[in-house]
Symmetry: C2
């Protein structure tokens, strides 16, 4: 049965989507894992990093998206509920046979208010994804920059969570805030989830205060039980360009510094899971 | 009476907070305007860009924050509701006499669910800020990277909104999504708000596809009624360092490229308002 890992961080723009997409691509291509990537963000960034806008429009029209899974798109509402397997895009990137995607939809923008009165609103996804877990080794959930209903659905169904973190001042404030709010959620939703670790991303090695921030966080007593991945994802513009061609970095330019970093991250990620 | 402007963008990490804080600082210091900056984001990034964590903790304990204004912090709940003026930090930065701040609180993290069943949940802030508008020339609202209840409260009370936008592929997708979802909100909440414009931020002039993205957006027919500010905010690490000393850029290092950009933005911002 697949292990489910959510990528979460309330701070925006730190590289959650970039990590989710490229990690999934290396795990599927280089490590031959069967991976399902799930886009929980109404901005559809993971989806549009792997498929063109036209292709996404066609797929959402004919097969559906996470808006159907979370039942806020009433086009396909049926009595027994929408089947999650219907909207899985198999082999979303032809060159990477083991990578499937469930795309998102901008209708998830007001999900919290749409589902506010619904009993068990944070369990809808978990119940449905359960039915397909036996088809995969790993499920990665790309979450929006908050801890609301979409992210709660992902966390409720997850075994682990991973925290991408940019080593700058405003992002580093977010780590203790995230731990605090996750503790609150864990108590209320009673889910068992463990932290797989923190991945420093968009790192500029030559900038003094990036180094200082990483040192400070690693030596901070309140984070001593957190695992900080040794692999650092550098700021590398090629990572920002790859989505324009709907390709992960290992297809767009496997010699770029960003590509090497994700190749190392995939190895470290697997060895962390196996511990 | 003050004009109210919200800085909004669903995409995370594009520079909403950096724009809100530094624009407010230039408008108050160089242009002698009386400015109230309001932090709607549970990450408290605007607050901690202008006050230290210790000072923030002391203020939230004794005077309150936006969590009190939006009535999710029950320490200070009273019959007639919490008075917004009680939690305004006057002259938050001593060297800039005209700049006041209402700090945020991490208790806003689950605001949407806390207020979901409350009648008029998106008007709570507007009713309260109305009472202090005569004390200011401008009110700037720094919003979280979503369009949920906190942002709806800001929009409902605003005359204009400003969209910071990083000229990269994933951010540029967000502009049409934002316009679409704002249209939906405007119809449902019936607020009158106009777009003051789009400010390109975190721009790297030497990167080809930043130039291409800006050209593409400006010439896109669906955005022909949008105003694109001529001032570009460059990627400038000094802007990321200034918050470590709880100072806006005009105090931290007024000769930095980021400082010059915000000086120009403040001028263009005022002339846009006066049109
Ligand atoms: N290591 C990197 N080097 C260069 N650019 C990067 C890197 N990581 C991410 N980016 C770029 O920075 C922007 C933000 O990254 P991304 O969208 O992955 O972050 P996010 O945390 O998912 O954002 P959001 O909070 O909006 O979901 C994107 O344009 C992306 O292409
Ligand atoms: N022009 C710039 N040059 C360099 N760094 C910048 C610039 N603008 C913002 N930053 C840095 O990038 C990070 C993200 O910016 P900021 O927090 O202002 O964005 P935001 O849109 O408010 O993010 P969020 O979506 O989390 O609220 C911060 O660490 C900030 O210091
Ligand atoms: Mg993302
Ligand atoms: Mg912000």
């Amino acid at each position: 049965k697949a292990r489910v890992i959510s990528l979460i961080q309330m701070k925006g723009g730190v590289g959650k989507t970039t990590c989710a997409v490229n990690l999934a691509a290396y795990l599927a291509k280089e490590h031959k894992r069967k991976v399902l990537l799930i886009d929980f963000d109404p901005q559809t960034n993971s989806s549009l990093s792997l498929m063109s806008e036209d292709r996404w429009r066609e797929w959402e029209e004919q097969h559906g998206t996470m808006a159907d899974v979370l039942e806020v798109d009433h086009k396909r509402k049926s009595e027994e509920g929408f089947k999650l397997s219907d909207c899985i895009v198999p082999n979303v990137v032809p060159e990477i046979p083991g990578l499937d995607l469930i795309p998102s939809h901008l209708k998830l923008t007001f999900l919290d208010l749409d589902l506010a009165a619904r009993p068990g609103r944070e369990r809808i996804f978990g119940r449905k994804v359960e039915k397909v877990l036996h088809n995969y080794d790993l499920v990665l959930c790309d979450c929006p920059p908050n801890l609301m209903t979409a992210t709660q659905n992902a966390l409720y169904a997850s075994d682990w969570y991973l925290v991408p973190m940019q080593p700058d001042f405003l992002s580093s404030i977010g780590l203790s805030l995230l731990q605090d709010r996750l503790g609150y959620l864990r108590k209320s939703l009673e889910f068992q989830i463990r932290c797989l670790g923190v991945v420093f991303s968009r790192v500029r090695r030559h900038i003094q205060f990036h180094q200082e921030t990483m040192e400070r966080l690693k030596s901070d007593k309140s984070f001593k039980r957190l695992y900080f991945f040794k692999t650092l994802i550098p700021e590398n513009i090629t990572l920002g360009e790859a989505p324009t061609e709907a390709k992960p970095i290992n297809l767009y330019d496997s010699s770029a510094p960003g590509a090497e970093a994700f190749s190392n991250l995939a190895k470290e990620f697997l060895s962390r899971l196996e511990q």
